[in-house]
């Protein structure tokens, strides 16, 4: 995997949203939604992205697809920098990456049939029309485990899990090599969640595509990803191979996160919150290391200097001043 040229390479991605105010709607503040994020996803690899609400996960996802324009940074898809492309130039690249959103219901136009929804990308790109399109859609339906006769049904006639399957079918229709999944299972019932995750795994196995998989549920991320990146307030604070990360969390935030997940075992130790307080506002992120306000190991240096994401061994990168910038091994 490592020797492969990455499919997606994101370098120093920054997305600032202007907070406007004042007489002339001038910018009075900036939401540092994503503040210098770099990562790469190899072909056939799943990169998990976790972090608390509002830390910028969705913004990363949207920027990668150029649904929002990044403020700076480069996004390379298959080696091509797509950040500066015009809408027209972007179109062929759109076929290589697709997105699946959290809320399957809101992701489907309530006034279109499932078949039309899945077929729409084909007609937009002029890949198939009429019968050919019908057949292709039927195929896609079968692939995601829906019956082709359901093509003429409307979204509200499907259950949550089925709707998410429609979304996945739509994403598959263009034959992408990268699928960005923005919390694809958070809105689903517990017993359905596993079905969708299995489907994603199966599809990947068959088609060898890559996922950028976003979730706040660590268990899910842990299950599906090869590598995991942990975000906090617009930055990646730790990124490592999954096994390595869970065995050896180095950033205090990652540790807190892991400790906060309730273990489904009554005999395991009781919940003990590792961190106090709330996530700070991304409009005025704390100086230095953004986590220092909640970190139990905080040092003076953390308050003034922002730690860079550095190699802490074996593809394990962390941004923490502890232990000479390698974080605190558990």
């Amino acid at each position: 995997m490592t020797d492969q040229r990455p499919l997606l390479e994101v370098t120093d991605l920054v997305k600032h949203y202007a907070v406007r105010g004042g007489v002339l709607r001038r910018r009075v503040g900036t939401v540092h939604a994503v503040d210098g994020v770099s990562f790469s996803v190899a072909r056939g690899e799943t990169l998990g992205l976790v972090g608390e609400s509002g830390c910028g996960k969705s913004t990363v996802a949207r920027s990668v697809l150029r649904l929002v324009e990044p403020s700076s940074g480069a996004i390379k898809l298959n080696g091509t920098d797509i950040t500066g492309l015009s809408k027209a130039e972007m179109r062929p690249h759109r076929r290589s990456m697709q997105i699946v959103f959290q809320d399957p219901f809101a992701s489907l136009n309530p006034r279109m049939t499932a078949g039309d929804i899945v077929g729409e990308p084909l007609s937009v790109h002029g890949l198939a029309t009429g019968r050919a399109q019908q057949e292709r859609v039927a195929e896609l339906f079968a692939q995601v485990g829906l019956r082709p006769d359901q093509m003429k049904n409307y979204p509200h006639q499907f259950s949550g899990g089925q709707r998410q399957r429609i979304c996945i079918a739509r994403a598959l229709s263009l034959g992408p090599s990268l699928i960005v999944c923005d919390e694809p299972v958070s809105a689903l019932d517990v017993s359905i969640q596993a079905q969708v995750i299995n489907l994603l795994i199966d599809l990947q196995r068959k088609n060898d595509f890559s996922y950028l998989f976003i979730a706040h549920d660590l268990a899910v991320v842990a299950h599906i990803s090869h590598r995991v990146a942990v975000m906090y307030l617009g930055r990646i604070v730790e990124i490592a191979d999954k096994t390595e990360l869970f065995a050896n969390p180095r950033h205090p935030y990652t540790q807190a996160l892991l400790a906060s997940v309730p273990v489904a075992d009554p005999k395991a130790k009781r919940l003990a919150p590792m961190v106090d307080g709330d996530v700070p506002s991304p409009i005025n992120p704390p100086s230095g290391c953004a986590f220092h306000t909640r970190c139990r190991y905080v040092m003076d240096r953390c308050k003034v200097e922002r730690p860079a994401l550095v190699e802490a061994g074996e593809g394990h990168q962390v941004a923490c001043w502890l232990n000479d910038g390698t974080g605190r091994p558990e």
Binding site: M90, R94, Q98, I99, A106, N109, E120, H125, C167, L174
Partner: protein, 297 residues
């Protein structure tokens, strides 16, 4: 605990009628007032369409021998001071009043939708400009605008329609803009973007259809008020001119001289106006309830 009749409760909730015809029958019973409104509207539309068939006389034909005849078998609603048959005039008046109502609403809504959609979809200076225009139209009171417009354009049927339609634009534009803004943020619009769909196509195919429900509700409410506006314009001498028998003019002109001498000249057009407005509003209310997903249950 009182015993509960499950069957009747369920029937009341419409459980047995979820599809097609039975659902319609259920909705008709559930929203009785709305059904009444719909019936009234359909009746008036039918009257307007088949006016030539159901009118018993030429609505413009003057007959000095039949002046101010009280309602009778020959003249169901009596005759006016020109000896014209009121029933025939009311029926033909339905054409005019509905033409004004539907015409103005359709015109105002169409422009409003375009303005709202463009403004909501293309934020930036276009939005800013369109919003100022709607602001301006909104700050000019409806009747004042209509007055100036009819004075400017002359009181003909198309002109009255235009004059009444213009003030409707800002309201529609605002509603559509707000909806568009909300819809723009929805994942299915983003999904459309992510497959490389053009903005125009997204606007027309994904955004517009989803603004239809609020639009329909708004339009039915406006239908009624346009009919009233026409009546007010008529009262101020700026409505649809003779010879077209608009209800508003029939009422406002007779009201002055014949309310006591020939009350039918006042009652019937008055009832026609009120019924039409009442009907559209009743229907609009029910429609809003039906189209509002949160009202289910």
């Amino acid at each position: 605990m009182t015993t509960i009749n499950f069957e009747s409760e369920l029937r009341r909730a419409g459980a047995h009628s979820t599809h097609g015809w039975r659902r319609l029958v259920f909705l008709a019973q559930r929203y009785l007032l709305g059904t009444v409104g719909l019936v009234i509207m359909v009746l008036f539309v039918w009257m307007a369409i088949s006016a030539d068939l159901i009118a018993r006389y030429d609505p413009l034909s003057v007959d000095s021998a039949q002046r101010l005849a009280a309602p009778s078998a020959a003249h169901w609603m009596g005759t006016d001071s020109f000896g014209r048959d009121v029933w025939s005039r009311i029926i033909h008046g339905a054409r005019i009043s509905l033409a004004v109502g539907i015409g103005a609403t359709a015109l105002g809504s169409t422009i409003g939708v375009i303005v709202g959609l463009v403004s909501g979809y293309l934020s930036g200076w276009v939005d800013l400009l369109f919003q100022r225009i709607t602001d301006i139209l909104q700050a000019l009171p409806l009747l004042v605008l209509a007055l100036v417009m009819t004075a400017a354009l002359g009181p003909s049927l198309p002109n009255v329609i235009i004059a009444i339609a213009i003030p409707l634009i800002p309201t529609v534009a605002r509603v559509i803009r707000a909806n568009t803004l909300a819809l723009r943020e929805l994942p299915f619009v983003e999904a459309a973007k992510s497959i490389g769909m053009s903005e125009t196509r997204i606007a027309l195919r994904h955004v517009l259809p989803n603004t239809l429900a609020p639009l329909i509700v708004l339009a039915t409410a406006q239908l009624g008020s346009t009919i009233l506006t026409e009546a007010s314009l008529s009262f101020l001498g700026l409505g649809i001119p003779e010879p077209y028998p608009s209800w508003g003019r029939m009422l406002s002109e007779s009201a002055a001289e014949y309310v006591r001498v020939a009350p039918w000249l006042v009652i019937f057009p008055g009832v026609a106006i009120s019924l039409a407005v009442f009907g559209t509003n009743l229907f609009g209310d029910a429609l809003r309830d039906i189209l509002d997903p949160r009202q289910s249950g």
